[in-house]
Symmetry: C2
């Protein structure tokens, strides 16, 4: 346990959602810029200083990674032009456990990490699945059972499974480019953007303020706040911080080559919805885990049944409003993963600006891709990526 | 190269010390909370998001480290009590390349990093030494030759060697607990503390504002601003960011087990003076490098002559005002390392709140220690540490 312990009463006395969140974990309010150098805060912060202060990696430059080979990327028509047009930072094709194509933009490489944006959500889904397998989370119970301070807010009376499938209903616009949209207020609460005076102090407080827009379960509503709520539930049921649970339940069992990171806000809330960074090869291992039915290198991480459900996708009828229908007419969302509903059963994780983990179960092939497209989302980009991945899967055959 | 390039004119147009610093490197002004998600900034930030957003490590929990053995720590009288009294987070004793004692506090361990505070300075000193060996830095030249924007400020007309030995003179109080002291304004510029309205925007700007207090070279003045100035010079002569230089010149050649990190401020300035975090075992490797005369595992990192000079110490007469004289009457400072001047020739790196790397050349023994003492400094603590290290060195024999 690496939590920052203090008397429960001390935290509860703050009376905020954050304090309540911390109190559930038995942890003190998050250290501040003006407290961290002094006892008792320094004991925790000196061991976790990167959680308070932005920090650059001083790489040990571990040797031993295989030479980068374009492999099948060479065999795809217009390959390098298409990678460039899609602002690719790195791409990896893996079939049956073997890397068959890998390419990195200048200044990036197999030992460097890259922000996953909402691909992070799909990692969180796996952790919830693993905790549900163990009985620590009951997917049919409401969020407020685990996080009482959410009672009366948008997600308090949504079940964990409704959150997993994004069929909970909140007054929340996910229009990334609209300054009035809740997704930007969410960013500001998390200090991903400069906050306004009336913004929530942190993500815990932001989530507790959200209001419900209609009954849950009626429609798919893609909403980043859902995943941070799942992260909060994970912290409560494990009594551990999200980064540590992600390490214990997923990263340490994957055979990852490198540590991952997750951004945390000044309330100590890890941004489960979009804040994870990792290497491309380690992301590919997450895809291998899914194609392996929840097992990798003989280690079971999540149940085969949970993976089967996830790969089967959700109910396309609920996603009638999704703009992604223009590319995948039968698209759905299940357990924090997208399902195309196409004849190949392609399932994927996606993050804004072009982060992807694409699964092709028919040929046991996956594609992982990091990008920095100028626009966060777009139908043309989604279609171009789907075509690229289909071509790469065919070339890998 | 991982710098964030943009036209030189664009940076120069900002007209600040920071812009000048960045311009010398050909890099754009550091991305902000409101620019990083958009092109073109996102290309750099998605690969370095931890430099803008505080982030928690998601450990892969690499296996394979040797079991922790107290070893010689068991043999020292009152050992565990003394470790506790000195707020020890971890301690390691190494003799002739072999770990002979190692202990970690609960919640800490060999795979976890800890803030070094001013032990960071001694790492920076090695990098300057290595660059001087190669002729990239001329230690006899003035700082303003490398960083023209420093002309007229405190350190502009100090030589690099004067900076290395902390005999440059600035109006700067290093009284950590005094809110009016410059060291706290330095912290605020670096966003290690909440800034005031009239504080410098970042460390580059802070350094350029400092004024000279007297002629250089007359007295030892321990001053954290010196080391950040050295970091700035390092960036200019290499055309690389400090974290990358520290990686290329030191960390990647040490045989380090883990990446290190260094905190960076919103101007992109790495806190060379105190912002490095690493594992205890990796810090011990820095000590091994010094005891090995600048070579480790057959890799030369810095010249034997530079190490010899450093271990020989500086001029004790210049340090007549140092409070450390109460413990070491012949104390001096040389090349960003402290020399006790005692009969054993002990040399050490030290950081506030109890971070240490202690060298005993006579027995080829070193002690690395991480702590979180409530007080930043204190004569009693320094004496107790010196006694503990002497006892450990004797026990290791």
């Amino acid at each position: 346990m690496t939590t920052h312990r203090a008397p429960l009463e001390q935290s509860l006395a703050h009376g905020t959602a954050t304090a309540a969140a911390r109190a559930r974990l038995g942890v003190l309010a998050h250290p501040t810029l003006d407290s961290w150098q002094s006892a008792p805060d320094n004991r925790w912060v000196f061991r976790h200083v990167e959680e308070l202060l932005p920090s650059a990696v001083v790489s040990r430059m571990s040797a031993g990674h295989a030479p980068i080979e374009p492999g099948v990327l060479r065999d795809v028509q217009g390959g390098s032009r298409r990678l460039e047009e899609l602002y690719t930072d790195g791409i990896l094709v893996e079939r049956g456990g073997r890397v068959v194509g890998e390419w990195y933009a200048e200044g990036f490489g197999p030992d460097r990490t890259h922000l996953l944006m909402s691909v992070s959500k799909s990692l969180c889904g796996i952790v919830v699945g693993a905790l549900a397998d163990e009985g620590l989370i009951d997917l049919s119970r409401r969020a407020e059972v685990y996080v009482p301070v959410l009672a009366g807010s948008a997600y308090g009376d949504a079940t964990v499974q409704q959150l997993m499938d994004m069929v909970a209903a909140a007054d929340y616009s996910e229009d990334y480019t609209d300054p009035r949209a809740e997704v930007q207020a969410h960013d500001r609460a998390a200090r991903w953007r400069t906050p306004h005076d009336d913004d929530a102090d942190d993500t815990f407080a932001f989530l507790a303020r959200l209001t419900r827009s209609r009954d849950h379960g009626l429609r798919f509503q893609y909403c980043s706040a859902v995943t941070d709520t799942l992260g909060w539930i994970i912290e409560v049921v494990t009594g551990q911080r999200y980064a540590d649970v992600l390490s214990e339940r997923l990263w340490s069992r994957l055979g990852a080559e490198h540590d991952a990171r997750v951004s945390v806000d000044r309330g100590g809330c890890a941004l489960a919805n979009g804040g994870v960074s990792c290497t491309l090869r380690d992301l590919a291992r997450v895809g291998r885990l899914m194609l392996g039915g929840g097992e990798i290198d003989g280690r079971r991480i999540v149940s085969e049944e949970w993976v089967r459900q996830t790969l089967a996708g959700g109910d396309p009828a609920l996603a009638a409003d999704s703009p992604n229908r223009a590319v995948f007419p039968e698209v759905s969302y299940r357990n924090q993963w997208w399902a195309t509903g196409n004849e190949r059963g392609n399932v994927y994780a996606i993050g804004i600006h072009g982060e992807y983990l694409w699964l092709d179960p028919l040929t046991d092939t996956l594609v992982a891709k990091f990008s920095t497209q100028p626009a966060p989302v777009g139908t043309a980009s989604l279609r171009a990526h789907a075509e690229l991945f289909a071509d790469l899967v065919a070339a890998a055959g």
